[in-house]
């Protein structure tokens, strides 16, 4: 059903127990992105644009803003010895992702793929 609405406060499994649906709503990723170096978007949700700040430094700008900047970010890089991290410059309207080379901690161009969990504005 396209754009149907199912209203329920609790989901109950026959044997595994019950789960309040507010946990489902609050626990869903509110934004995600997957982009190659140069911030060319490949896959995303709730992202209006990406900003290629410099080598290995990208912002994902949200369409639907977060309530506060204290949201949780999970991010992963592709390739050996690469790691995604986030900075302290996040705002309710964008998340900053930095891709670093593990041995020397330098910024490098690579895939960036953050998922953002938290409360929406």
């Amino acid at each position: 059903m396209a754009f149907g609405t199912l209203k329920a406060d609790t989901l109950t499994h026959s044997t595994a127990g019950s789960l309040a649906t507010n946990f489902v709503v609050n626990g869903s990723a509110k934004a995600y992105g997957y982009s190659n170096s140069g911030a060319t978007p490949d896959s995303s949700f709730n992202v209006a644009s990406m900003t290629d700040n410099s080598t290995g430094n990208y912002d994902f700008n949200f369409t639907s803003s977060m309530s506060n900047a204290l949201y949780q970010v999970s991010a992963a890089a592709t390739g050996a010895n690469k790691v995604n991290g986030t900075s302290t410059n996040n705002t309710t309207s964008d998340v900053n992702i930095q891709v670093r080379n593990l041995p020397d901690n330098t910024l490098v161009d690579n895939y960036a793929s953050p998922a953002v969990h938290g409360v929406l504005a």
Binding site: S37, G38, T40, P41, V47, S54
Partner: protein, 159 residues
Amino acid sequence: MTVTPEFQGTHLWDRLCWAKETLDSVQSDYRVVYEDSIDECAKILVPDPNWMACALQGGILPPVEVYWELAKDEAEEGFTKHTRGYLLHNTKPVDAMTEEQAIEYLIMKDVPQSVWRVWDEGNKPKMVICRKEQLPGTREWRNAWKISEDLATNETVAA
């Protein structure tokens, strides 16, 4: 042709869920190059294909002024969380835009106001809209990218 439901009053995130399920993404070739610090390299704004689909469809995105209001709130000292998020959801959504209008909207949303409001005040433009293929072909010297000194602020078309 897909008809957008009446979305005023619907949470913006829910509208994006509908759009993701319903609309085909639109990959734009436009890029916005801007400099917000003379000590840093140029930044490149890239439109998201799902967002562009929403902009072209119409009836989904809030007016850009809503984002300015939220940014004002966030800039207040002592800000902890948004209390006017309803502006995103309850303000009448904007009508369908052309791709060029969508880029203008995106500039006003995601480029610092200190750049786009005074983009042409100075010896060279602080911001340039270009095509993807006009950017350097490799990223080898990415941290040295700058807007050309040869561009004049009274030119509307880059050579």
